[in-house]
Symmetry: C2
Subunit: 387 residues, 2 copies
C-alpha cells in the first residue's frame, strides 16, 4: 500500500516481504577496496574469510581471483564455494578426525586445494594416518594462539610445535602456521589494536622460525582478524592475511573502530506494526529471529541494543535503537537519557536496522536483497547456512 | 573413526556431520502429552504454537487434528503448514497492511482459515478496507496486553477496544481477543506464575466482556505462553490456549520451572576438536552459530553459559557448560566455583548440548535428526526458517 504513494522513494523496497536482509552494493565494494588496499600495502597474499557473507556473489567481488584464495569456517562452505570454482581454500576450524573423509571428498570431487588446521599431536597423527591410507597428502596448518583467545599452540612451546610438525610431515603436508588474534574484538583504542596486530605477527613469525629451525617446512605464515588486519603497522615475516566481517562491517566493528557506522553494508528491512505511546515504543516485525540474539555492543562504550534504526534510505535516526526484542517483535525506543525526538513512524513504515554482528544476523537469512549504487533494489544474491 | 570401536553405543550418531540438531522423540511425545493433559483439564481448545518446531512432523504430533488448530509466528510458517494440510491457523504477530495480500493468497490457495491480529484503529480500518475490496471477510483478533510486555490494547481501555472492534466488524470478521503473558518468562516462583496466568485470564475475560457489552462478537478468547499454560489454576471464560516452546523445553524453561532439565527434547550434537589444559577448556565445533547467541539463562539463578553439556546419550556432565562461544568454536568449562571433575573427552568425542532457548537454537538448522525411544538414530525431519 505504501508503495503506491507518489511521495515515497522509488527504491523498490516495498516489493519485499519483511523482515529481510538488504545489502548495499556500493558500501560493500568500498569496504572490499579499503581492505584490499591495506593488505596490498603490506605485500602479502589476501585470503578473505567467507564465513560472514557465505555467498559466491560476494566472494567473487572479495577474492583476488575467481579460484581464491579464501578461508571458510565450515565444510558446507567449502563444498559450496569449491563447487562454484573456488579452488584454494583453508578450513580454519580445528579438524576432527571423522571429518577427514568429507575433506577428502571435496578435494577429489572439485580438485580443490582444501587445507585444514589443528593444534594437537593426536590430530596430527590422525591426519598423517589418513593421508597415508588415502594417498592424499593433505595440506595442514598448525594453529598457533597469539593471545589466549581460543585454540592453538602457544608460540613459545617449541617442543609441541616441532612434535606436531614432525607428525604432520610424516604423512601429510605441513603448509605452515595460522593465527587469529580474537582478543582484538575486545579493544577499541587504535594503539592497543596496533599492538594486538604486532603481537599476532610476532607470534606467527616465532612459531614459523621454530618449525624452520627444526628443518620443517613453513611456506605459509597466515594471520588475521578484521581489527588487526586494519591496524597492522607492518607484516614482516607474514605471507598472508585473512579477514571476513570487514566486508559488511557492523556495529561491533564500528565500536572497535574497524569501520564507521556509515560503512555498514547490511541491514534488516523491517515494517512498523504497532505503537505503545504510553511506553515510548514503536513495534516492528524484526525481533531477535531477524536480528539474531547477538548483543555484542552491550560490552562496548555505546550499547546499540539489538540494532540501530535507520530510515529506508539507510540514514540513522538519532538514538533510536531496537531496545528490546521478542522472537518476531522488535521494540524501537530512544536510547536511555537521549534528548532526541522520537520520529513519527506510522504503521507500515519501512525502516532499515544496522546489526550488532553481521555474521550472526546474516545467518538468519537465505539471501541478500541487493541495493545498487543508485539506491534501487536490483536483485537477490543467495547465501548458505548450516553445516 | 570413533564409530568403528566396539565399545561405543550403537546409537548411530557417528554417521552425522556435527554440529547438528538432535531431537529425542520420546521426550517430545511426553512433553506433548503433558501439555495436552493440562489444557484438556481446563476444557478449552488447544492451539499449539508452531514457531519453535517449524516442522510438519512435530506439528502433526502436537495438534489435536491434522488440520489444526495451530498458531504461527510468520507468514512463511502459515504457507508451509497450510500447504501441508493445516487449515485452522492464527498468525499471532500484529499485521502490517501490506502483508494482507499474502494472507489472502494463503487463505484462497489452501482454503485456510488464517486469522490475523492487531491492536490499533489504523490496522482495523486497513483490514476492513481490504476485506471489503477483496470480498474476503478476514477473521481478526484484537491483541490485548495483560502485563505490559509488548503489544496490545490495555484490557481496561474500553473505548479503544470498542473502537477497534467496531472498525473490524465494519468490513472484516471480529473473531475475538488474543493475549500473551510474555512477562511470565521472567518468573520462576510457582505462585507468581499462577498469578501471571490468572492475570492473563482475567485481562482476556475483561476485554471480551467489554466487546460483548458493546454488542460486538467475541467468540474466541485466546491466551497462552508455556509458563502460564503450565501454571493456570483455572481458565474460566477462556476458549483456547496457545503454547509452543513446551514441545522441546529448554534451559530457560527449566529455570522458570516449566520443565525439568531431563525433559529437554532437543540438543546440539557436537564434536570435541581440541583442548586447552592450561585454561581448563575443552573445545568443540559447536559455537554460537550452532547454539545461537541466546544467553537467556544469564538472568536466571543458574547461568548455563551457551548450553549444558551431556554425553552422547544425553546425560548431563556435572557443571560442564559452554562457557564461551565463537562463531564455530564452543569452549566447554566447569561452571565457576564447581568442585566437579572435568570429564576426559578426547578429540573426536561426541557430546550433546542442551540449549538455553529452543526457538533460537533450532532456527540455526534446517532439519532434526530424530532419536527414537530405543536411543537410536531413526531419521530426519525437515524444518523451515525465514520469512
Amino acid at each position: 500500500m505504501t508503495g503506491s504513494k507518489d511521495d515515497l522513494p522509488a527504491d523498490g523496497l516495498e516489493a519485499l516481504q519483511t523482515p529481510c536482509l538488504v545489502l548495499d552494493e556500493g558500501k560493500l565494494a568500498a569496504n572490499l577496496a579499503g581492505m584490499r588496499a591495506q593488505v596490498d600495502r603490506h605485500g602479502v597474499t589476501f585470503r578473505p574469510h567467507l564465513k560472514t557473507a557465505k555467498s559466491i556473489d560476494v566472494a567473487l567481488m572479495a577474492m583476488t581471483g575467481p579460484g581464491g584464495p579464501a578461508t571458510v569456517s565450515t565444510l558446507k562452505e567449502a563444498e559450496y564455494f569449491a563447487e562454484r570454482g573456488v579452488r584454494d581454500l583453508t578450513y580454519a576450524v580445528g579438524i576432527a578426525p571423522h571429518k577427514l573423509d568429507r575433506v577428502g571428498a571435496i578435494r577429489r570431487r572439485f580438485g580443490a586445494d582444501l587445507a585444514v588446521i589443528l593444534d594437537s599431536l593426536g590430530q596430527a597423527e590422525a591426519v598423517s594416518e589418513w593421508s597415508r591410507r588415502t594417498g592424499d597428502r593433505l595440506p595442514v596448518f598448525i594453529e598457533v594462539d597469539p593471545d589466549g583467545h581460543r585454540s592453538g599452540v602457544k608460540p613459545g612451546d617449541a617442543d609441541l610445535l616441532r612434535g606436531i610438525g614432525e607428525r604432520i610431515a610424516a604423512g601429510a603436508s605441513l603448509r605452515g602456521v595460522l593465527l587469529h588474534a580474537g582478543e582484538s574484538y575486545g579493544l577499541s583504542d587504535p594503539e592497543a589494536l596496533a599492538e594486538a596486530a604486532e603481537g599476532e605477527r610476532a607470534a606467527a613469525v616465532q612459531a614459523a622460525e621454530t618449525l624452520r629451525g627444526a628443518g620443517l617446512p613453513c611456506p605459509v605464515v597466515s594471520v588475521g582478524s578484521t581489527p588487526t588486519a586494519r591496524h597492522a603497522r607492518h607484516l614482516d615475516g607474514i605471507t598472508e592475511v585473512r579477514a571476513g566481517v570487514y566486508m559488511f562491517g557492523d556495529l561491533v566493528q564500528a565500536g572497535i573502530g574497524s569501520c564507521a557506522v556509515d560503512d555498514i553494508a547490511v541491514s534488516v528491512l523491517a515494517t512498523v506494526i504497532g505503537h505503545r505511546p504510553d511506553k515510548g515504543w514503536i513495534i516492528t516485525d524484526a525481533g531477535w529471529m531477524a536480528m539474531s540474539r547477538d548483543r555484542g555492543t552491550a560490552a562496548q562504550a555505546v550499547d546499540q541494543g539489538y540494532g540501530l534504526v535507520c530510515d529506508r534510505a539507510g540514514r540513522p535516526f538519532e538514538d533510536l535503537i531496537v531496545a528490546q526484542a521478542n522472537q518476531e517483535h522488535g521494540v524501537l525506543a530512544l536510547r536511555k537519557g537521549s534528548g532526541a525526538r522520537r520520529p513519527d513512524l506510522p504503521i507500515g513504515t519501512l525502516v532499515r536496522i544496522l546489526p550488532n554482528h553481521a555474521c550472526a544476523t546474516a545467518a538468519q537469512y537465505d539471501r541478500y536483497h541487493v541495493i545498487g549504487r543508485d539506491g534501487r533494489l536490483e536483485g537477490e544474491w543467495p547465501r548458505i547456512n548450516g553445516w
